[in-house]
Symmetry: D2
Subunit: 352 residues, 4 copies
């Protein structure tokens, strides 16, 4: 770190700071300027807290140099991470399309939408069994019943499932059913939950908090990874700004920034980012062009009747059309979204 002393700092204050820093095993490099002294501190990884230093007499500003996240950092892991979710690769050449209804609403319904999503080109199935709702009086999800329907839909279609978990004590239960545990935007800094998901060893889809900085987001990933669970996907789902025309503001910049700072796959959620189905396509396409490694999109056959988030859900036919458009863009940027059933079709040809 770099410690900038005040112009008014006394020699004693400078000396006190330097001896304090040396006490904890760091090296100091003072620069005596015309107006003020600036002190470089080397070897400050974990032994010294910059806020403590910032409080010392005569200090004007402390500038951190090293990044506080390690496992999530591209500096420590230069290659892109590619996750294998039951055979679906996330973070590699092909984009991973995740789709499904906001809430699991019933067995038959879930299976039907799953088929529709798969035919349209989705590779991973989403659906909420436990719903974070702003009001305690809103529908809170079907719970374990919903998880069972998701699991049946997986059996029917072969698609891995991603579903949200909100309560650390439910992580083992949800992990029994799900292939990917989703951590919602409201819980990005719910450390008990991050720790529980980290310990579960399950892949995690970590949504960025409504007002989470990219650094905080990577540190939240670091919480999960600090338990040895490196199967983490980041998900940009829009941030909260002054803008009121859409539910959230999709932060397109976050895609290249997160991919520069981290090796983890970045998924875009255009449904929550816009809150209105008519804007989902434009944002989804933009995310693909900007380098997203996948998308998670809400699809419902009768959005008017959806139990939640119908306003932002695409009908299956519109979703299918969007996948085709996204595929063309993916190919234009040197990647791809494979056609539906490709592997299965090949599998069918192979001897059992």
């Amino acid at each position: 770190m770099i410690v900038v002393m005040k112009t008014s700092a006394t020699k004693e204050e400078v000396a006190a700071l330097m001896s304090r820093v040396e006490e904890v095993g760091c090296k100091v490099h003072p620069i005596i300027g015309e107006e003020r002294t600036v002190i470089g501190v080397i070897g400050d990884g974990t032994t010294i807290d910059r806020h403590q230093v910032g409080r010392m007499k005569g200090v004007e500003q402390v500038v951190p140099i090293s990044k506080p996240y390690k496992s999530a950092s591209r500096e420590y892991h230069p290659e892109d991470s590619v996750l294998n979710i039951n055979g679906v690769m996330v973070g590699g050449h092909d984009l991973a399309i995740m789709a499904g209804p906001c809430s699991v609403e019933g067995r038959t319904h879930m299976i039907e939408i799953a088929h529709a999503c798969k035919e349209a080109g989705a590779k991973i199935l989403r659906g909420g069994a436990y719903k974070p709702r702003t009001s305690p009086y809103s529908f809170q999800g079907l719970g374990e019943e919903g998880l069972r329907y998701l699991a049946e839909a997986r059996e029917e279609t072969g698609m891995p499932i991603v579903t949200e978990v909100m309560d650390p004590s439910l992580v083992p239960l949800v992990a029994d059913y799900a292939d990917i545990l989703q951590i919602g935007a409201r819980n990005m800094q719910n450390y008990a939950l991050l720790n529980a998901v980290g310990k579960s060893g399950k892949a995690a889809l970590l949504k960025r908090g409504m007002s989470g900085t990219i650094k905080e987001w990577l540190l939240a990933a670091e919480y999960i990874m600090s338990h040895g669970n490196h199967n983490v996907m980041l998900c940009e789902r829009g941030i909260r700004t002054f803008s009121q025309e859409t539910r959230n503001t999709f932060d397109l910049n976050a895609i290249p920034v997160a991919k520069q700072l981290s090796h983890l796959p970045v998924i875009a959620d255009p449904s929550h980012a816009t809150g209105k189905w008519e804007y989902v396509g434009a944002v989804a396409k933009g995310a693909v062009a900007a380098g997203a490694d996948g998308l998670i999109i809400e699809v419902h056959d009768e959005p008017d009747q959806a139990w939640s988030d119908g306003r932002q859900s695409l009908k299956p036919e519109r979703f299918a059309k969007l996948v085709t458009q996204m595929r063309a863009i993916a190919q234009a940027v040197g990647r791809d979204i494979p056609e539906a059933h490709m592997n299965e079709a090949i599998a069918d040809l192979a001897p059992a």
Copy 2:
């Protein structure tokens, strides 16, 4: 709710909407305008979801009329709530001053600061045993050991204690020690935690989320209250904005707004709102003048050495001076901050 149809809406779309709304038992009142039709819907409390309506064909906009929170609403409870925290009243004529270190750092230290805070005029003791830290590698708190020290400090000083709980599974343990369970800003919409605190029956200090609207804040309170636990205090601790000169932006408007919409006491946290001790006094005084029912302030005898948040902690003597200044302002707005009990008690024994 009010449903505004598009200028292009057909008669059939208007009719479909009206019959849908009547199906669920609401009454409709159409207004046929020159450009468009607007439909008033009456009796829409819980039977109909406005987002579903918003998805119907021909609908441009749906405007909700009723407030979604009930227990927390002043409409349903016109009088100010006054909470009794082991004899300390919060929300009444006298302001409640809560103070103490960010983290519990040790037994002796905790007791000493508790005495200093009490002498300065604090009535409730704060201290963190479980710390929400952005980085998994930062100090995470002393845990139950910290709770024990807090309890000892309470025994020594008679001050009720407020401390944060982050994990729903720890609510029973923390509730065994604490008088007030603090829900941190990062957890304002951690519904598993809100439900656990609601069920505990313990008083709660609910911090506003970094990007929480006032409506979301009151709905978070509603989660706790929906379990019959009405001992909720709201705490404004600064919101996240573009402004970078301070750690957060203290939203002074939130005080009169929250007090108009809700009967719950509103506490101000100038320490987190500013992040720098030199601004804490100005913001604390402003909050008192604007109608806050109490303050929670970080106090540390050696801020340079504090394990966390030293940058925003006041030294006891500075805190004592601030309490005196706040008292003068409280009196100027028709309220008060009573003197410390200790001296009063001693004064009573002394000959006149």
Copy 3:
């Protein structure tokens, strides 16, 4: 507009409101609900101010129904506007690429960069002669000298020029040289400037303000258009949010939203939106995929030596590569970015 009365509103208050509204020639449609009365007001275009109504006794809320912008609105002009800027079409099938240095730095330099930009595929040349600088002590631009160099570069390359004007009194001068007058983000609501540009009849590139809502942006366009000048392009250049990793936050949602609400072309400025050259490409590509009608990109041959904004400037060769990538994406979404020299090649064939 819709006027929602308070639950506590008296009959007299309702009657007073209704007679006030009728006085100014509007029709009223009251809905007497169980809890409260709601009054529809028809024919409220210009005769009545909703804020005035909102101040009347017993009124809780006033909900506007009609949009306040007309000329800029797609409702009034359903087809996309296509602007003809000296032969370069903006808003039609082909995307318009604008490029050049942040500041005009000299005659030779300007002409050289102009050629490089043109060869890479740019159709319009940008360059700042009057620079809005946060500090009065920073370089403020070459002024009219810079305009002359821009004009020379146009003569040499045939590219129309876009340049910023900040002072209403300089609009005639700048309009003498420029093909497009740029209104910067800081001046989105500088009404004297908007009026002057409107009166000039010159095409305008209207940047969105740092905290401008889309409605305010369209109303700013309306200021220009209210003078009969309909040659307006909107430019999304990033908004100010809590996010600090990039200079601004590119609001991708704004592209589909602005294009839905308005018929005006929408240009994206990835240079200011990110502030760092390494993110410019990803955001530029995302904007193309999301439906932008053009881009404005800062290009400099020696970014390290640029007089301003070097941090976000692309080198010509990198820009050329980006144009190729954007062309592939444009084609993937059914549009195009024509190759450089196309018109010139044709011009070469024509008799001199």
Copy 4:
């Protein structure tokens, strides 16, 4: 400035940077760390641009040390500035109360409100003759006619007047009438206007932009002051955030921060900061307690009929009561709001 090199920076890149910096007359102090090199640059006031340095090869980050504003800075002018506005002191012991209608609406009306404001304790009269309106179709102010009415009201009451100017070309005209030129939030970075106001020599009330940082605000003041016009007041009027319950978010922190960084008086505008009259009192009182040097408050005798901003205007009797409450708070923090002028009392004694 401090230049942090990348971990991957080569010796050549470090050497190139150092020689470049030395070329322009600065001294360099390299610190060779274990992971990377950090270079202190001394004497960097005006000769070197940090963004240029940031663009050099191998550079990761540049940290500025010196503040970019000088005249506005407390470092260069440690004592509070006290402005003398025709005998009313702003920035000293007594708080300056400015009040009046949003718009000047007529001669008689203006004079009557002026008297009412004066009797309530206001010392300076506000009123808009040129109104910045989001829509080109809204009332734009009475123009010079309005200025004349303001001047008459000054003659009648002896109160200096503050009024907004938006167009640089109108600065001489407005300065002929006004005692203080108000620069609105939308124009905080309208540099042509700032320069014109600076040259006029008139006192200026500089409102903070909706998304203006405190540094940008002080640099805007610096624009005015760079012309030798040091009669500048800063005005916090609320910033734009995600919060929608009020028109803007009053940034209370800005008061102590601006007063720490600058010697200029800080005025609070609770009317625009809240947008609703019922919250104006709480915020006004909070601002006084936090150290504001004055307030500017919208007052109207018939807010329901006001031509603009009626929703946030106080009636004179409510304003008078608020002044009394603010006086008590001012006294509690060691300052004062003097009673209405003595000369009125004297005038009353004089024969009619």
